[in-house]
């Protein structure tokens, strides 16, 4: 078993003033080394909270009740001390967010922030070495005028440029898992496609596994090897991307695919907000290893 990430029967409840809200009802998924897996679903289906739980960011929240096993490279994350888990972040696992520009602190130059990232595994790294290493990494995301970019503040660069900087930073320490939470949703479509292609090539080269979270099926189809469809905190369908797109088995997946706008027109199809069929048991396609 060479799973980078294996989530088993993860449940999440939020305790609020009005009572307990169930958010995840037993989500299980696994990602193998170097595999690109997409987690697809509508707003509020539990995509992002799953990612946060893997990072250990929700566990601190008093109102969150989390159950279920998380295995990262064979270690049970729940058994790790806070310190050990903390050591994994930024080194073995990293994450990219929706809006690249706000992910960078506006008062520091890109170079300063890059140095901080590179010093995470190696605190003694000198400024010169860090700059050289940052230059190489920026090269790999097709930014060739490193000096200008490293001396620039995030708001002086375009969104696409920042996105590439963020990708370079996320992959700087050669993590074994990259969680991409709707990367580039804040960018326009062409820039998004460009940067995702870059990211695709980079993770192929470095053998980094990716958990790609998105509601954009077009992007997912291009990017992922395998997909999980999540609806209201339940995984409803999983399988190789091509198989799921070609032959969706679950009512919800069919509705989701029908909602993709088509260039041939025809308008927005009439899809119900919810349907009993959406709560049918999970469909596993051949080749899916969940």
């Amino acid at each position: 078993m060479n799973d980078v990430l294996n989530i088993r029967d993860l449940t999440l409840k939020f305790r609020g003033y009005t009572g307990v809200t169930d958010v995840l009802h037993g989500v299980s998924l696994n990602i193998q080394a170097g595999e690109k897996v997409a987690l697809v679903g509508e707003s509020g289906s539990g995509k992002s909270v799953t990612a946060r739980i893997v990072q250990g960011l929700l566990q601190d929240l008093k109102s969150a009740q989390i159950k279920g096993d998380l295995f990262f490279e064979g270690h049970n994350l729940n058994r790790l001390s806070a310190h050990e888990w903390h050591a994994l972040r930024g080194t073995s696992m990293s994450m990219i967010f929706q809006d690249p520009t706000s992910s960078l602190n506006p008062v520091f130059t890109i170079g300063t922030q890059f140095t901080e990232v590179l010093r995470r595994p190696d605190p003694k790294l000198s400024k010169v070495e860090a700059a050289a290493r940052a230059g190489e990494l920026l090269n790999s995301v097709s930014i060739h005028d490193h000096d200008r970019v490293l001396n620039a503040f995030p708001f002086q660069l375009s969104g696409g440029m920042n996105q590439r900087v963020v990708i370079a930073m996320a992959l700087a320490n050669q993590p074994s898992l990259l969680i991409a939470d709707e990367p580039g949703t804040a960018l326009d479509v062409t820039v998004q496609a460009q940067t995702l292609n870059l990211m695709h090539d980079l993770v192929e080269q470095s053998g980094t596994a990716v958990l790609f979270i998105s509601h954009n099926l077009g992007v997912v189809r291009e990017f992922a090897d395998r997909i999980y469809v999540i609806y209201r905190g339940r995984i409803v369908e999983t399988g190789p991307t091509r198989a799921v797109f070609k032959n969706p088995g679950h009512a919800y997946t069919k509705a989701l695919l029908a909602a993709v706008p088509r260039i041939t027109g025809g308008g927005i199809p009439d899809i119900p907000d919810t349907d009993d069929a959406f709560f049918e048991p999970m469909v596993v396609h051949n080749g899916g290893q969940a």
């Binding site: 972040r89 930024g90 992910s103 901080e116 995470r120």
Partner: protein
């Protein structure tokens, strides 16, 4: 930094502020050389020249025991500036750290720190200072203490509000994901984003601290005679208005110049640093 200074000097209003403040600061620093009668800052009596209007010997006249007002005002600047600097040097860091950690950490820390701050804010500032001075001995040290105690909660509020909104920013989440510690995020990520507002408030507050300190000594609760203080000089002269007008007008103008100068610079900094959010 260099850019900031250039902008400050280019705008006529902020240039005026810079000039007024440099005037006050330089005369305070070089008081010993500028003041025509340096020994008049202490307990000196000169009944030959007492209570005289402005003359070529005493540019701003003399007080009730014949001391040169001009010399005393210059030394009073020194007291005012020391008081302002010390008060802000203590109140700002204290308030900033309280606000920063309350805003970033939230939860119980926020509850305890901010309710404590609210307790201080609920008492009118001058009343709090007067109450403290009533209990303590009226000395320069205690005046600083009283003003500091009433001052830090405002910084805590300011920084708390900024930290609360910065906490939701993407870069804070990104820093958490990359494994930065709470202290790193608070001090190295959020604090730099609060600095423009803090610096602006400090500059504006220099003026206000001078006013509050003067108010305290006007009421007889601040610096005690014979040490020259702008507030107590105004209070002393107020009884002899309008005949001996120079006794109140010149110290009053001195307060105005210092406060006005700091306010002009503060306003300009607010524009430049964009702390106006």
């Amino acid at each position: 930094m260099k850019r900031m200074i250039i902008i400050l000097l280019r705008n006529p209003l902020s240039l005026l502020g810079v000039i007024l403040v440099s005037l006050v600061v330089l005369s305070a620093i070089f008081a010993d050389f500028i003041a025509p009668f340096p020994d008049h800052r202490g307990a000196v009596v000169d009944f030959v020249h007492f209570n005289q209007g402005p003359t070529s010997r005493n540019y701003m006249g003399t007080d009730l025991v014949g001391r040169d007002l001009f010399s005393r005002i210059i030394y009073a600047f020194r007291i005012s500036l020391i008081l302002g600097v010390v008060v802000l040097a203590i109140a700002t860091p204290v308030g900033t750290f309280v606000g920063l950690f309350a805003g970033y950490l939230g939860g119980k820390v926020e509850f305890i720190l901010m309710r404590l701050t609210d307790v201080f804010l609920s008492i009118p500032p001058l009343v709090l200072a007067i109450a403290m001075m009533g209990v303590l001995e009226p000395t320069l040290m205690n005046a600083m203490l009283a003003v500091t105690v009433m001052w830090w909660p405002w910084y805590a509020r300011l920084v708390y509000n900024i930290a609360r909104s910065e906490r939701e920013e993407g870069y804070v989440l990104a820093a958490e994901v990359i494994g930065a510690s709470n202290i790193h995020i608070a001090l190295r990520e959020i604090l730099p984003n609060c600095l423009p507002a803090i610096i602006t408030k400090m500059t504006l507050d220099m003026g206000f601290v001078i006013i509050i300190a003067s108010s305290l000594s006007f009421l007889g609760l601040g610096v005690q005679p014979p040490t020259p203080d702008l507030g107590s000089m105004v209070a002393e002269g107020a009884r002899y208005l309008p005949d001996s007008w120079w006794l109140t007008v010149f110290p009053g103008l001195a307060i105005l110049i210092a406060v006005f100068g700091f306010n002009l610079i503060g306003d300009a900094l607010r524009e430049i640093l964009g702390a106006d959010q």
